[in-house]
């Protein structure tokens, strides 16, 4: 433990906080808290990218951190809050399966991701490679969150959280992606959010509710 430099220990701590937030999002009932947790996750991500930039002296990561901060901590949560206000959404989101069962499945996924990641992280050459398992685990947990929610908005937040996890995996395994790729992804996410926002209004107008089981009625022979 003492062989790892201090900044790498900070990164480990932030990785743990990321996983904690992913778990908290899995069990959270209220939509407003979900958005705030997502913003907190974005903040942790930005700080960790900044620390990696500081520790490994790669200035392009500072720009990456600033981009993450602007997009995930400020812009996207603001868009989501606006969407919530316009849709007048304030439900308690009940999942498909109850909370303890969801958390048990979450733990199993975490064990699975940790096991999956340990041979891979031997191959990477960065100092923070041990956190690859945590990044994969957050991706899996966000996926689980998408599966077990019944309303549309938490599913979108799950999708965004998944992207968070992937971004963290990239920073920890390969010290970030090329700037072009990052800008491209950021643009995609932003445009995706805007389109999804439009979609939500359409769904609401059609079905009078954002409950996804109404979309199942589109099956033939129903």
């Amino acid at each position: 433990m003492s062989g790892i430099p201090l900044y790498a220990q900070f990164i480990n701590l932030l990785a743990a906080i990321l996983l904690l937030l992913a778990f908290a999002m899995l069990t959270q009932r209220r939509v407003l808290s979900l958005v705030n947790l997502f913003a907190a996750q974005g903040l942790a991500l930005a700080i960790s990218t900044g620390i990696v930039a500081f520790g490994t002296r790669q200035p392009h990561l500072y720009a990456s951190a600033a981009l993450t901060l602007a997009l995930k901590v400020v812009l996207l949560p603001w868009l989501l809050h606006r969407l919530i206000r316009k849709l007048d959404v304030k439900w308690d989101v009940e999942g498909l399966i109850n909370v303890p069962a969801t958390m048990l499945i979450g733990i199993v996924l975490v064990v699975f991701s940790f096991n999956l990641a340990s041979p891979i992280s031997q191959l990477a050459s960065t100092v923070t490679r041990a956190t690859l398992g945590i990044a994969m685990a957050s991706v899996m947990l966000s996926f689980l969150m998408m599966i077990t929610r019944r309303k549309a908005l938490p599913q979108v937040i799950g999708f965004l959280a998944m992207e968070n996890g992937l971004f963290f995996a990239a920073t920890s395994a390969t010290y970030g992606m090329p700037m072009v790729v990052e800008l491209g992804i950021a643009l995609d996410v932003l445009v995706g959010m805007l389109i999804l926002g439009v979609f939500f209004f359409q769904i609401r107008e059609q079905f009078d509710s954002l409950d996804l089981k109404h979309l199942e009625k589109l099956k033939e022979g129903e």
């Binding site: 433990m1 904690l20 778990f23």
Partner: protein, 316 residues
């Protein structure tokens, strides 16, 4: 087992006994400030305990000796626990006799006897309190044990002074698994000490009680001992939390009287901040319905398990 060690042990126990009601009074004061009420005196718990000792004990007619001896047993268990947890120094000879797992066992001893005494009188509220307390305990005890296991995996020992030595006196290192364990520990201590959001310590509605329902039949010196034991339990949990997560300021073994006296302001400062945070959590949360308690404690348990898994993965 030197004389200095023995002395340090007795001093820590005496300080725990003396400061525990003060901690409860401080938490009540902070809560009153945060809720914009005028606060009761800081020394009110002491006066309450003294008043209770002076009264005649009223014992129900169907009570067995279990009812009358339980307050003493619970108080003794909490004193033993206070003797093991390093609050001022890690020089605790008695900690050789009981480690972290035995600490959880002592809490279980107190809980089982309280539940049995509650069922002893044979009233509806007694068995309600006993059932709820055992229920909260069945979920909280494994979570606490998992938190202590995480700390012991990091430090390679289950003896609390050794854990504190490892965490406090080695080079500064950050342990991510302790982040998870810290959240889990906070949730468990809220549940075990009968605080909002699990149980309201100031409630007078019987159907929402957990801890209070068990002690409905107690009066006078029995109730005084139980209240003091409850204050000691809060003090112990705070000291365990400080020892695991903020161990700076605890004197190392062999420091002598000066080190002990130097550690006392650190302890009082940390407890003051901790008490304020506890009052803040209580003010900002609402009491959960009793059937949501398993979810709350289940979350704490799974977070603690996750802490152990993160420890295995990251090696810290």
């Amino acid at each position: 087992m030197t004389l200095a060690g023995f002395g340090s042990q007795l001093l820590q126990l005496a300080i725990a006994l003396a400061l525990a009601p003060l901690l409860v009074g401080w938490v009540n004061q902070c809560r009153a400030w945060l809720q914009n009420r005028s606060a009761p005196s800081l020394l009110l718990p002491y006066r309450t305990i003294r008043k209770l000792f002076l009264k005649d004990a009223v014992v129900a007619e169907g009570a067995s000796p279990i009812f009358r001896t339980t307050p003493y047993i619970v108080f003794a268990a909490m004193c033993c626990a206070a003797a093991i947890v390093p609050s001022l120094a890690t020089d605790l000879p008695f900690a050789r006799a009981a480690d972290a797992i035995a600490l959880v066992g002592l809490f279980a001893l107190a809980r089982v006897f309280m539940a049995l005494a509650a069922m002893d009188i044979g009233t509806a509220f007694g068995s309600l309190g006993a059932r709820r307390e055992m229920f909260v305990g069945f979920l909280a005890e494994p979570a606490l044990l998992m938190v202590l296991f995480t700390a012991s995996l990091i430090s390679g020992s289950t003896s609390l002074p050794s854990i504190v030595d490892t965490l406090a006196h080695r080079d500064l290192a950050i342990y991510p698994s302790l982040a998870f364990a810290g959240v889990a520990f906070t949730m468990v201590s809220l549940a075990e000490n009968a605080r909002i959001p699990v149980d309201n310590p100031a409630t007078h509605l019987e159907l929402t009680m957990i801890h209070e329902a068990m002690i409905l039949e107690y009066s006078a010196r029995h109730l005084a001992l139980i209240e003091w034991a409850a204050a000691l339990k809060l003090f112990n949990y705070s000291c365990i939390g400080l020892a695991l997560f903020f161990p700076v300021g605890i004197a190392a073994a062999g420091g002598g009287w000066q080190a002990l006296l130097g550690a006392a302001p650190a302890l009082i400062g940390k407890l003051a901040i901790g008490g304020f945070l506890l009052a803040a959590i209580e003010t900002l949360s609402a009491k959960m319905r009793i059937f949501r308690a398993p979810e709350f404690l289940g979350t704490a348990f799974l977070l603690a398990v996750l802490a152990m898994l993160v420890n295995q993965l990251l090696g810290s």
